[in-house]
């Protein structure tokens, strides 16, 4: 038998803050102590770290695998990892795109021992893979920033 009565609930006897207190307490416990900008920075530095700090572990893993996978395939294909200082404006754009992948950019710089080989199609694809990794990480960092800012507000 159902224990809840068919009577109309008395709204005056049960106040709204009491109803929402456990929910708000749970939400408050999930709000990170670090600010949105720090979350975005963490997300840029290590892909997925920002989402991990926000408790979005699944997303964090996906972004880490996606950014890492794109970079590793790019390095494997001997794509061009643009250095910070280039005379070519497109090289500068390439650097910003590459650098957006955070720690994977440093990894690519270290692992690029044989140098790029863009004379072949695979090397050219590799350049695009490394740049795409940076762009994906940048979007992920914006996403983490947005989530952190929304929670804080």
């Amino acid at each position: 038998m159902n224990e809840t009565s068919n009577e109309t609930p008395d709204h005056d006897s049960v106040s709204q803050p009491e109803l929402h207190e456990p929910e708000s307490a749970l939400l408050a416990s999930k709000v990170p102590s670090v600010g949105p900008l720090s979350i975005a920075f963490a997300s840029w530095l290590i892909p997925g770290l920002g989402h991990f700090l926000l408790g979005r572990t699944g997303r964090a893993i996906v972004f880490f695998v996606a950014v890492g996978g794109l970079t590793i395939v790019g390095i494997h294909a001997r794509g061009n990892v643009f250095p910070p200082r280039t005379a070519d404006p497109f090289g500068t754009l390439g650097f910003w795109a590459d650098a957006a992948s955070g720690i994977f950019y440093l990894l690519a710089r270290v692992l690029e021992r044989a140098g790029p080989d863009v004379s072949r199609a695979a090397g050219d694809y590799g350049t695009r893979f490394i740049a795409a990794a940076g762009i994906v990480n940048l979007i992920a960092a914006f996403d983490a920033y947005e989530i952190a800012a929304r929670r804080r507000s």
């Binding site: 997303r59 395939v73 294909a77």
Partner: protein, 63 residues
């Protein structure tokens, strides 16, 4: 010493790119896990279909 150039065919480059980017897009654009998987799978399929379709359209130009 010059390292041997690893082999990455056009097809596998396209498949890997589509896979990684679709995963990220699925996570960014949808909220629930089934929706994310569905979107990622759909995006992955479209990458492949459009890529192969564009390759076939350009095939006569390579001759």
């Amino acid at each position: 010493m010059q390292a041997a150039t690893p082999i990455l065919s056009h097809f596998w480059a396209m498949v890997l790119f589509a896979l990684f980017v679709s995963m990220a897009l699925g996570c960014l654009t949808r909220r629930s896990i089934p929706e994310r998987i569905k979107y990622a799978a759909w995006s992955f399929l479209l990458f492949l279909v459009i890529g192969i379709g564009a390759a076939w359209l350009m095939y006569p130009l390579s001759r």
